[in-house]
Amino acid sequence: MATIRISDDALAIACGADDVAAAFEKAGHTVERVSSWGMQWLEPLVEIDGKGFGPASPEDVAAIIDGSSPLAIGTIAEHPWIASQQRLTFARAGKTRPTSLEDYEATGGWKGLKRAKEIGADATIQEVMDSGLRGRGGAGFPTGIKWKTVAGAKADQKYIVCNADEGDSATFADRMVMEGDPFMLIEGMAIAGFATGATRGYIYCRSEYPHAIAKLEAAIRLSAHIVAPFVLEVREGAGAYVCGEETSLLNSLEGKRGEVRAKPPIPALVGLFGRPTIVNNVLSLAAVPYILSEGGKAYADYGMGRSRGTMPVQIAGNVKQGGLYETAFGITLGELVNEIGGGTASGRPVKGVQVGGPLGAYLHPEQFDIPFDYEAFSAVDALIGHGGITVFDDTADMAGMARFAMEFCAVESCGKCTPCRIGSTRGKELIDRILDRVPRNRDDVETLPQMHNAPTGQRSLEDEITLLEDLCETMKFGSLCALGGFTPYPVMSALKHWPEDFGARVTEAAE
């Protein structure tokens, strides 16, 4: 009988993949649990001889086997959603068993590490520089330069830290790498260790990803002899969003409160336990094995401008065909949302999209011609971040989303700097007052005789909007890290594009 392939990714499991797999086994079939193809609207996706059926439930087993199931989508690899991608980092997605060393080796695994050891540390760093790879965590800092800095630092111990604290909503590419292809991440980290002289590595994974942690731990045990003398350990986060910020992550690894550190000194020189440390995102490190095995130039041939290579874009939220879409930089936002994503799941018009997680700007459909590129996004006060896109239909309340941005920042702020800690709470109150149409009265202090320069009347709505803009300005430029610094992006973009959601009088004030 044919072998059935079903993903054991957390998303597939949450959608019932275990039950489907058990039903096939009960019917006498062999089931192989593989990584996910990334076509998440079809999960649990059942694959038989390359043909796909999804989303499947245990009741569909008989019809899938006799070929009469209406869930058939044809050959998976030829599905337009997969065939139109340029998968470098996710080349193995859907094809291999995540913790099988045999499958990893058979699909070109460890080639990058082997070549790095052949060409030496300096040439390895040069390949990464040539690839033009920029940090995929959000900041977009050139990875090669970071590596060169750590390689040049003198210390008795250096560290490679993988930032797997993927807290942004609408992002799951890190999770898919860790659950679907953990050896690739381990290989990337081992190459980084070899290139910079670091012998210890930590993967800091958020606690919301128990499946990823289990797979990583299994993969580390299985591959310890291959990456030696490099030693790796997984560390579990504890539910703090801010620990995705690199210095706060380092504090957390050290067993401290996840408070942000002031920079300089940069972590590349004074990082974990005060030692030179590379902190790279999962996707950055996962891109490295390809860069080493195929050469930096091969990677740089993809992309546009200063954004080289491919970006695993995550299309999520209210979208018909959501999932992981890896493609070269330069594709437009509209193509991603309307053509690849197929519009909203609800069938209603797209109202807006948020790109880059809770700290990313909301973009209006009028801006859908913007190409996916770091510079093009920053030119319109937006960011690519970790490449997550959340789609909203026309029922979304953008003023409510702006308020949520402030609320989220207030909940997750580490408390180290004032603009973020206090600004977020005041911002939430301010948006509440704007939405409730109850402008603030002057308080006792403001009406003291000494405060004779202060206006005495009630603040108008226009005043409140100006104040919100002023507060956003302060948070943007006064915060220590991106949490407080980027929270103004969703707030200001929502206010700019959908002033009607903030009320009619605000529309006039904004104009």
């Binding site: 957390a10 998303l11 499991i13 949450a14 959608c15 998440q40 609207w41 999960e43 807290g167 942004d168 909503s169 609408a170 992002t171 799951f172 890190d174 999770r175 606690s207 919301e208 990803y209 499946h211 350990e233 560390r235 579990e236 986060g237 504890a238 539910g239 703090a240 969003y241 957390s252 690894l253 050290e254 067993g255 401290k256 409160r257 996840g258 408070e259 336990f273 995550q314 299309i315 999520a316 939220g317 209210n318 959501g322 999932g323 799941a345 948020q354 997680g357 809770p358 997550g388 959340t390 789609v391 909203f392 239909d393 979304a396 989303m401 949520f404 989220f408 909940v411 997750e412 580490c414």
Partner: protein, 144 residues
């Protein structure tokens, strides 16, 4: 603190003694074992790691995963981040509270990384996707 608890705490601390920066792994194990990190645990851990109790308390109170008191009911973690909001989680909240009737604690979390199939929830280490009102109510009923 009884002897059994003290012994278990010592064992947990000892099992992480060779790690660099062992505090978080210890706290995770204590939280998993006892359902909270209480004052006794903080005192013992502080002493073992040569930290002040204030430092340990500061860490425990910083992270959402560590609780000062044990939860009295089973906990359902419901994701209310942007992608789940876009898929309608907010409309489910009131119904979930009503279905729980105080027997299950509904905790808000932000993002389980299953953002295309929300609304999502997590119970223990089990993840649940594509929730609607009835499914969420059934899940809550199972937990009671």
């Amino acid at each position: 603190m009884n002897d059994v608890k003290a012994k278990r705490l010592d064992e947990i601390i000892a099992s992480h003694s060779r790690r660099e920066g062992p505090l978080l792994p210890i706290l995770h194990d204590v939280q998993a074992e006892f359902g909270c990190v209480d004052d006794d645990a903080k005192r013992t851990i502080a002493k073992a790691l040569n930290l002040s109790r204030a430092e340990v308390h500061g860490v425990v109170s910083f992270y959402h995963d560590f609780k000062a008191e044990k939860a009295h009911q089973p906990v359902l973690k419901l994701c209310r981040a942007e992608a789940c909001k876009a898929r309608g989680v907010e409309a489910l909240v009131a119904g979930a509270e009503a279905a729980a009737k105080g027997r299950v604690e509904i905790e808000t979390i932000y993002c389980l990384g299953l953002c295309t199939v929300g609304p999502n929830a997590m119970v223990g280490k089990q993840v649940h996707a594509r929730l609607d009102g009835p499914k969420l109510a059934a899940l809550i009923e199972e937990m009671v």
